[in-house]
């Protein structure tokens, strides 16, 4: 066997405030989005299953956070982000794309409407600096953007056991929290921003607080039974849900509409909208693929139709721990669910079929939180 050897002294990689905790747990570290991040602790499948069946905690401090506010905030964000802004409720979260003029995706992000004219935006780590610059350049004089990334700690607590753990730690009740909403709460006497959001398909929370406090949150959650989970499990969990990962399913060359996430795209004027809203520009669509067997397809593998003609390419692929088969996402020429395809991997062709997403349909993410308290 030859295998990849992990290290934990990567040059020029940033470290999150939880870095020492990962090393203490013997995590396998790898560069991601400019940070040295934990890929796994005890094992990807164990961590994945903890999120599906119990509770898992993820270090997401590497992600970016901005504050956008001012009298012009709504109008400016309507122009910069693909989703509808004005009807986001105060206390509500909304997913949308930041597009370039050609309709390509600069980043995907989630907006939290804190006040009428005050928005908290969460973005990916690799694109944070570029996002900040782009937004700042496109704001009018009636709004401003502040980069809160450096001073904001973040973690994701996910799984059916997460609500009990979370409610033990938060001072105020969480039983009224609805899916895709946020509230301020108090943890160890400090005000924290918490949301019922996540990237796993299970019920859970994202918490935003000071760097000092996120370390305590990490320890407290583990003490209450949460399993530390790394980027390896984060990837298998989101893939089972058909969620896109920026850099794989989304990049500046993929038209936002090809992603299929039409709820994130409003019929309005925004940067890139002429390309995004023009359906004639769509020759391919992001699709789920299930593979016969356990052998995985990987990003870049070609997808062939049953005649052997190239019909697209894989954006992400992996063995699915919950389903026990390999699954993939790919940009392909539109085809019906059930259509047979082949995937050309480095080691031969895999028989596969076009599938619906999510691949995994048993997730607790939208459940009534009271069932889990």
């Amino acid at each position: 066997m030859h295998f990849h050897t992990y290290q934990n002294n990567y040059q020029n990689m940033k470290k999150t405030v939880l870095h020492e905790k990962h090393l203490a747990l013997n995590a396998r570290m790898s560069p991601f989005g400019g940070f040295e991040m934990p890929i796994q602790y005890e094992g990807i499948i164990k961590e994945h299953n903890a999120a599906r069946n119990a509770a898992a905690i993820f270090d997401t401090c590497h992600m970016g956070e901005f504050l956008i506010q001012g009298a012009g905030a709504v109008e400016d964000l309507e122009r910069i982000v693909s989703c509808s802004i004005k009807d986001i409720k105060i206390g509500g979260c909304r997913y949308g794309f930041i597009c370039n003029e050609q309709g390509g995706v600069i980043d995907d992000q989630i907006l939290y409407r804190l006040k009428e004219n005050e928005f908290f935006m969460v973005v990916n780590s690799a694109t944070e600096a570029g996002d900040f610059k782009w937004i700042r350049e496109h704001l009018s004089n009636a709004s401003s953007i502040e980069n809160l990334t450096e001073q904001t700690g973040k973690a994701d607590l996910q799984g059916p056991a997460a609500p009990k753990i979370f409610s033990k730690l938060m001072s105020e009740p969480v039983d009224e929290m609805k899916f895709y909403t946020f509230k301020y709460n108090y943890y160890r006497g400090e005000k924290v921003l918490t949301s019922r959001t996540g990237y796993t398909g299970e019920i859970g929370f994202e918490i935003y607080c000071s760097n000092d406090l996120i370390k305590k949150f990490w320890d407290d959650c583990i003490e209450l039974g949460a399993t530390p989970a790394g980027l390896g499990a984060r990837d298998t969990l989101r893939l089972e849900m058909g969620f896109p990962l920026y850099g794989h399913e989304l990049n500046q060359d993929t038209n936002a509409a090809e992603s299929g996430f039409t709820r994130a795209i409003a019929s309005k004027n925004f940067i890139g909208s002429s390309a995004v809203l023009d359906s004639s520009k769509r020759s391919r669509v992001l699709t789920g693929i299930v593979i016969e067997g356990r052998r995985a397809a990987r990003a870049g593998d070609l997808v062939l139709d049953s005649d052997g003609n190239e019909t697209g390419y894989v954006t992400s692929g992996s063995f699915s721990p919950t389903l026990g088969i390999a699954i993939a996402m790919a940009y392909v020429k539109p085809a019906d669910v059930g259509t047979a395809v082949k995937i050309k991997t480095e080691r031969g062709e895999l028989a596969a079929k076009i599938s619906e997403v999510p691949f995994y349909k048993g997730g607790t993410v939208r459940s009534d939180i009271r069932k889990f308290l």
Binding site: M1, F3, H4, G43, I44, K46, R295, A296
Partner: protein, 127 residues
């Protein structure tokens, strides 16, 4: 502890002689480095394998790695449990996680394989 009853290759396979059959698998170090194993491509029964030549594939969640035969000979048996439960290689790499068996193996090739102590030393130098 590295079992003393077998020999080891520089590519982290082990071989245990049981009469005129050589049983092979991968070491604990290898299974740990690979992470959760999700698929094993086994060589075909009856096929010839050569020492240090690729004869199969082991996939883990994140990657695929070539499996090399530590010794030359003919594949007499493969561990069919690995088709549905490849994770047994992770949990029991030296016993239940055996991968394939070889008959008519080349005995002289055993001499160039490492014993347990030498393999452990080899691991130290690798890091």
């Amino acid at each position: 502890m590295t079992p003393a009853d077998r020999k080891y290759s520089r590519t982290h396979e082990w071989v245990k002689i049981e009469g005129d059959i050589a049983v092979t698998g991968i070491t604990d170090h290898a299974q740990d480095a690979l992470g959760d194993i999700t698929f094993v491509e086994l060589p075909k029964k009856g096929s010839q394998v050569s020492k240090e030549k690729e004869c199969g594939v082991i996939e883990s969640v994140k990657a695929a790695s070539d499996l090399y035969s530590p010794i030359s000979g003919a594949i007499s048996e493969v561990n069919e449990d690995l088709e549905t439960a490849p994770e047994v290689i992770n949990s029991d790499p030296y016993e239940k996680g055996w991968i394939f068996k070889i008959s008519n193996f080349n005995k002289s090739e055993l001499d160039s394989l490492m014993d347990a102590a030498a393999y452990e030393k080899f691991l130290e130098t690798e890091e």
